[in-house]
């Protein structure tokens, strides 16, 4: 049984936001429009946080792509009264849209703020409405949604793997979520954390690695890689 995880190399990220666009296209995420976005209702399953370091003109800009950390000990899961948010066998924090009644408790419990609520029924400006992904359901008003690690791709890959090989193992590198696939800088690496030889496993063990808000004990499956002042070699 795989345990899906991601490694994000912050030293590689250019902040181009191709991942954000790809995610919207892949997962049928509505565009809420400028007014709603200004009210804090934009829905981006992955966002690129921007940080400025230093004083002008000696300024350095850094980026941090943040998406669901698919925590092993996820605070969003136990608080849902209807089991709409639950833990899959493969370590994903899944969301059952049909089960969600919209208490929004999961979004409060999530310290990473990566759960998004459908305040209105979804709409897409033309021609975006013509390119909806048939593999992903469209969510109605009143439902919570979030990054799934492109579970539709995982399921498709599993079916292919079962058809093609005896043990049905998904080979490392054959499966990518939309964000990783579109990352020109190769900053996002996805794979099976239970496979010690997978690329994501090796990167996650890097001395450059750290977890976001690790002190909260949610045990995220996402590792952020960043060169620290203490580590001139770079590791990983």
């Amino acid at each position: 049984m795989p345990r899906w995880g991601m490694a994000v190399d912050l030293d590689r990220c250019t902040g181009c936001e191709a991942c954000v666009t790809a995610c919207h296209a892949e997962n049928n995420i509505p565009t809420v429009g400028p007014e709603e976005a200004a009210r804090g209702r934009a829905m981006h399953w992955i966002r690129v946080e921007r940080y400025w370091e230093g004083e002008f003109p000696d300024v350095r800009l850094t980026f941090r792509p943040v998406f669901c950390q698919q925590c092993d000990n996820a605070p969003c899961e136990p608080v849902c009264p209807t089991y709409a948010s639950y833990h899959t066998d493969e370590g994903l924090n899944a969301q059952v849209y049909n089960r969600c009644i919209g208490t929004r408790y999961c979004a409060n419990a999530c310290s990473y703020n990566v759960r998004f609520f459908n305040f209105h029924n979804p709409e897409w400006d033309r021609p975006l409405d013509l390119q909806l992904n048939p593999d992903v359901s469209v969510r109605e008003v009143g439902v919570m949604e979030k990054c799934t690690f492109c579970i539709q791709r995982i399921n498709a890959a599993r079916i292919d793997a079962r058809a093609e090989t005896e043990e049905g193992r998904i080979e490392d590198g054959t499966l990518q979520p939309a964000c990783a696939q579109s990352c020109t800088a190769n900053a996002l690496v996805f794979g099976d954390l239970d496979d010690a030889d997978s690329r994501v496993s090796r990167l996650s063990r890097s001395p450059r690695g750290s977890k976001l808000l690790e002190e909260l004990g949610a045990e995220p499956s996402v590792t952020y890689l960043q060169k620290g002042d203490w580590d001139e070699s770079g590791g990983g």
């Binding site: 136990p78 608080v79 009264p81 979004a107 409060n108 703020n113 609520f117 008003v141």
Partner: protein, 458 residues
């Protein structure tokens, strides 16, 4: 006391049930209009989506849950006043208990609806109910919202019983004086009450069991409401003090609501002879006690947060102490602590009017307290990148106003169908040991007017 006095009590307390004035009917019509506006706002919100509210990311909970916690808090009036006073057999409780128990039942009805209005898809609320279905799905009993669902339903059932039981002899009294359809309805409500010793015995034991049982239920209800917040790792929510802090706040706001309701009843239904300055004096002392307890909890909570100086909690602390939410915070402190402490500490200002002014301050302050618990913590969560703010949308304001109108409406209708002061309890009190005190107090108030003269022993 004698038969003539008993008859006077019965006549006076049944008077509101015998017809209504034009002013009353206009008030009820106006209140119904406001409540309908609230229902309409909810309908529009269901059609259009929660987007009509001011909710956003990161403030996913807003006015609906502020008002939910507020009303569940108000509902603690009935239990803690009525049940505790019954158990310790305080004689002065007799004219007060039913006003308090009615507040409990109505506040729970209102408070219980608000989380449904808050839901993204309220038409699927039955997913919260454990029922056998083909998919074998059960609600998640690890969720504090499930605990809430059961706690509030248990409390609603228990407090309705607690309100209903002592009404039975009074229903029988109305039945015996009525005719036609009224007689049938009250006869049904009186459940065959004949006033036999056996029936009295059963009623007394049932009341006793309920009075004891409802106290742990009430304490658990507001503890569980606090757990909705305390279980989440959100700055200044995740606190062990929240359970008792919420219970104290609930009783505090409940007593304030009771004092306001009693003052209105006294004025509007001409019950000055029954709801006396003595009762306000005693409730004022209780309110003062709760005010001091509340202040102690706030002090303990805020000092530990400030001293701990945790990086995630300090933004919330300063936002409420000196920042954007500071006006609400200091109005809360003034209403919940300064005003009651000043007005209720001395006998001179612990009058009916003084108690009412303090109570209005407490109700406003406790509402703000609920606001200050829900909103600032969500605005300033762990990641500064996601900080936000919140202002209510129009549906939230209309529903909030409607919730207050619903309380007034339910109360207005209630006093026209049920004697708001328990007639049989008042009469039985007159035969008991404490009767001389009541008679004495009555006589003194009659002599001294509504305000007891200074220097007199209470």
């Amino acid at each position: 006391m004698n038969l003539a006095a008993d008859k006077r009590i019965t006549d006076e307390l049944l008077k509101p049930l015998q017809g209504s004035s034009r002013r009353y009917r206009l008030t009820v019509a106006a209140l119904m209009l406001v409540v309908s506006a609230g229902v309409a706002a909810w309908a529009v919100q269901m059609y259009s989506g929660i987007g009509l509210t001011g909710l956003n990311s990161p403030v996913f909970w807003g006015f609906y849950l502020v008002n939910f916690v507020f009303w569940i808090g108000i509902s603690h009036a009935g239990t803690l006043i009525s049940a505790i006073l019954r158990i310790v057999d305080a004689g002065w409780r007799r004219p007060v208990t039913r006003c308090a128990e009615a507040i409990t039942a109505f506040a729970l009805l209102i408070g219980g609806v608000l989380p449904l209005i808050h839901l993204g898809r309220p038409w699927l609320f039955y997913h919260l109910i454990p029922f056998p279905d083909g998919r074998g799905l059960w609600p998640n009993f690890r969720s504090p919202l499930m605990w809430d669902f059961f706690a509030i339903n248990t409390y609603l059932l228990a407090s309705t019983l607690f309100l209903f039981l002592p009404m039975i002899p009074d229903f029988a009294l109305v039945r015996d004086r009525a005719s036609g359809i009224r007689r049938t309805i009250y006869g049904w409500l009186a459940m065959g009450w004949q006033g036999t010793p056996r029936q009295w015995n059963r009623l007394e034991s049932a009341m006793h069991i309920m009075a004891i049982a409802i106290i742990p239920i009430a304490v658990s209800v507001h503890t569980i409401v606090s757990f909705d917040f305390a279980m989440a790792v959100v700055p200044m929510w995740h606190s062990t003090i929240f359970g008792p802090y919420f219970v104290v706040g609930a009783i505090f706001s409940g007593i304030a609501a009771l004092i306001i309701a009693m003052a209105l009843l006294r004025r509007l239904l001409r019950l000055e002879a029954y709801l006396q300055p003595l009762h306000f004096d005693k409730l004022g002392k209780l309110l003062l006690t709760m005010s001091l307890l509340w202040a102690y909890f706030v002090f303990a909570e805020r000092l530990t947060v400030w001293y701990g100086n945790e990086i995630t909690e300090m933004p919330v602390f300063w936002a409420t102490f000196t920042g954007e939410y500071a006006p609400a915070f200091w109005i809360m402190v003034a209403g919940n602590f300064v005003l009651p402490a000043v007005l209720l500490s001395t006998k001179r200002t612990r009058t009916v009017a003084g108690c009412v002014v303090a109570s209005v301050g407490v109700v406003v302050g406790m509402w703000l307290e609920r606001f200050l618990i829900v909103i600032p913590s969500l605005s300033y969560r762990q990641l500064p990148y996601t900080w936000g703010s919140y202002a209510p949308g129009w549906t939230e304001i209309v529903v909030m106003v409607a919730s207050f109108a619903a309380m007034a409406l339910l109360y207005c209708v209630f006093v026209k169908f049920v004697p708001i002061i328990s007639i049989w309890e008042l009469k039985s009190g007159n035969d008991m040991d404490d009767a001389p005190h009541i008679v004495e107090a009555e006589a003194r108030d009659a002599a001294a007017g509504p305000v007891p003269a200074r220097g007199e022993a209470s």
